[in-house]
């Protein structure tokens, strides 16, 4: 199959996918998100973020208050579709925990939480990049990728993340064009 016909098939496949998508779900994706609902799930977001960037010899996502950043940025800077997908993703986390462990996510053990997260991570998209792209364009970024991107950003731009997790050089003064990397040297927090 040459690349062109391959792409054509993908596009047709994508179009079929769209047409079978119900109007009901579309309105669900474009309705306004209630900030209070999202804020009420802050602890759960914090738990998920900590799984992505855990506390080690340096602070983790929780100590960097990343959940607060995620909710603020989502509500004020991200489009409605992304907000809705994020909320739907949190619901999915909750129902997966209930179905499999018979209790809410927050009551799960560390291992159970990890397992729930692994499930979400491995079901976050298609294995073809182009399908992900089409999917993203129509339905918005997946819950998992939004969560991951905002966790990384929130952590690396926080004071604990930038100054302890990474190396922050507020006023470098001079530029050293070529230095020798020290063992375990962290990368710079800012460009």
């Amino acid at each position: 199959m040459n690349r062109r016909s391959y792409l054509k098939r993908i596009v047709v496949f994508g179009a079929v996918g769209v047409s079978s998508f119900s109007i009901f779900k579309w309105t669900e994706l474009t309705r306004k998100v209630d900030p209070a609902t999202l804020w009420s799930k802050k602890d759960m977001i914090a738990e998920l973020a900590e799984i992505i960037i855990p506390e080690t010899e340096t602070p983790g996502a929780k100590s960097a208050n990343v959940a607060d950043y995620i909710v603020k940025v989502l509500l004020n800077c991200m489009d409605i579709k992304k907000q809705n997908k994020f909320c739907a993703g949190l619901d999915r986390v909750e129902s997966y925990a209930l179905d499999n462990y018979g209790k809410p996510f927050m009551n799960c053990t560390a291992n159970e939480k990890q397992a729930v997260f692994e499930y979400i991570a491995s079901h976050s998209g298609f294995s073809y990049r182009i399908l992900n792209r089409i999917n993203k364009k129509i339905f918005g970024e997946s819950f998992y990728l939004t969560l991951r991107d905002l966790t990384i950003e929130g952590y690396c731009m926080s004071k604990p993340g930038a100054t302890q997790g990474l190396a922050y050089d507020y006023i470098p003064g001079n530029f050293e064009a070529c230095t020798i990397l020290k063992p375990n040297q962290k990368s710079w927090a800012t460009k």
């Binding site: 799984i51 992505i52 960037i53 855990p54 080690t56 340096t58 983790g60 950043y69 603020k72 940025v73 004020n76 800077c77 991200m78 489009d79 997260f117 991570a121 991951r148 991107d149 990384i152 950003e153 929130g154 690396c156 731009m157 926080s158 004071k159 930038a162 997790g165 990474l166 922050y168 050089d169 507020y170 006023i171 470098p172 003064g173 001079n174 530029f175 050293e176 064009a177 070529c178 230095t179 020798i180 990397l181 375990n184 040297q185 962290k186 990368s187 710079w188 927090a189 800012t190 460009k191």
Partner: protein
Amino acid sequence: MYNSQKTKEQNTYDAIVIGSGISGGWAAMELCKKGFKTLLLERGRDVKHIADYPTANLNPWDFKYGLNNTLKDQEMDPVQSNSYNPGTKHFYVSDAEHPYIQDQPFHWLRGYQVGGRSLVWGRQCYRMSDLDFEANIKDGIAVDWPIRYKDLAPWYSHVESFIGVSGQKENLPHLPDGEFLPAMELNYIEKHLADSLKKNEENRLLTIARVANLTRGWDHRGPCQNRNLCDRGCPFGGYFSSNSSTIPAAMATGNLTLRPFSIVTEVLYEEQSHRAKGVRIIDALSNEVYEFYSKILFINASTIATAGLLLNSVSSRFPNGFGNDSEQIGHNLMDHHSSAGAYGLHDQFKDYYYKGRRPCGFLIPRFRNLKENEGLNFKRGYNIQGHGERQEWTDLSHNLNGFGKDFKKQLTSPGDWTIWMAGWGECLPYFENQITLDNTQKDKWGQPLIKIDFSFKDNENKMMQDIQKTSAEMLEHAGFKGVEVFNYKKAGGSTVHEMGTARMGHDEKTSVLNKFNQMHNAKNVFITDGSAMTSSSCQNPSLTYMALTARACEFAYQQLKKGDL
């Protein structure tokens, strides 16, 4: 409006300068230093050096939403928000407050404030050469430049010695060396690419960018602290802007009157003398109308706004716009393209890193069409600008899979070396790329909206393909892996190098300005912003605007002294 004799005298200056950006600041300083009582009109607010840089010292965590623009920002400023972030937003206009019409997508990025866009400019300083000044006549395109390199060379030196430009001499005829402060340094991967070019590519070299960032103290400013936060305004004065340099110097003469919130709506024509007698302005805050008068007038409102002002200044003598006998005003709009290039990773040299955030990248000077008949399918050329770095969290967040302890370790350690580079390419002057006024739609001061009709064409598109090809091959020859080419297909205007709407030329029938940037049709009017450009070359143009400005100021001064003006 009625002006008594007394107000008329109070409102009369030797010189008026419209616009306080990179070229207007220079005009004001040069004229003040020559002893002219000068009125500098700026349509936006005042921005005082250091005092008015509210974000300059902020840390990443000091911003509420990081560097993300809010949904409201994106909605109110659909164009400007592509360029600003919460650290720089206050130096850009609001699109909602300052609308314009796009016949085709065109990003008109603007900073209505004292200092204009000199606060947020890219600081690259490259001289043009006779390869550029002779290009139009050789190709039979548009009109000939009325100047050659030798006319401008001393003025380039004059400007460089004042603003402070760091750079490396390379002895290239098509990219003349300037008066340089010590050069900034290439990092490990950039040196590696430079060596590879020397070995593998005929005719090409890689040098550090030439930038108006100070590698040592200069004119009571700097040196640059390598924070790479220039566009927030520099509390160290580490780079050149009107605010840090020319406007304070003009102020120090005692000859400058700076009037912010002054929207110039018309250049006023005087029948008897065949000259401009002054300007009419609207005070942006009070909405009151004033007139100011002067012997000479410098228009430095920036390419698109300057053309708009001239087209809006109609009289029985100039029914099609002030000084527009040639009917070229508003036409021949150009902007460099900077969309095409290549990116690659290098899996070696992992023992090396760098410290500090050098505020510039590297330059591969133009290597295409240096001679005639190179057999390429496009005219003119491009230079390549880029930078090398090791992957850090912003890059790794999209390229690393997983989560947890190991993921965190990888995310916070330096990744592979990378190079990103893209071609900054010449855009030909096309008559049909133009700005006009739409008299049916007005802004909140009752002024007609500017309509922009611009597109890149065949020559630019073919050049972009060549840029992808040459960029990729240079990276591959240097051992980069996974080399990917790109073409962002950015809208016109995105490079923020608008030029050409009131071009210089020998003949008043086909051009607006003569070889001293003096209007053919009104001898006391000078235009020395980007609108004067007869062709765009591929060099970042601000240095040339500044040199043309200083040269025109000296000419105006000599003419006035002789009584010819």
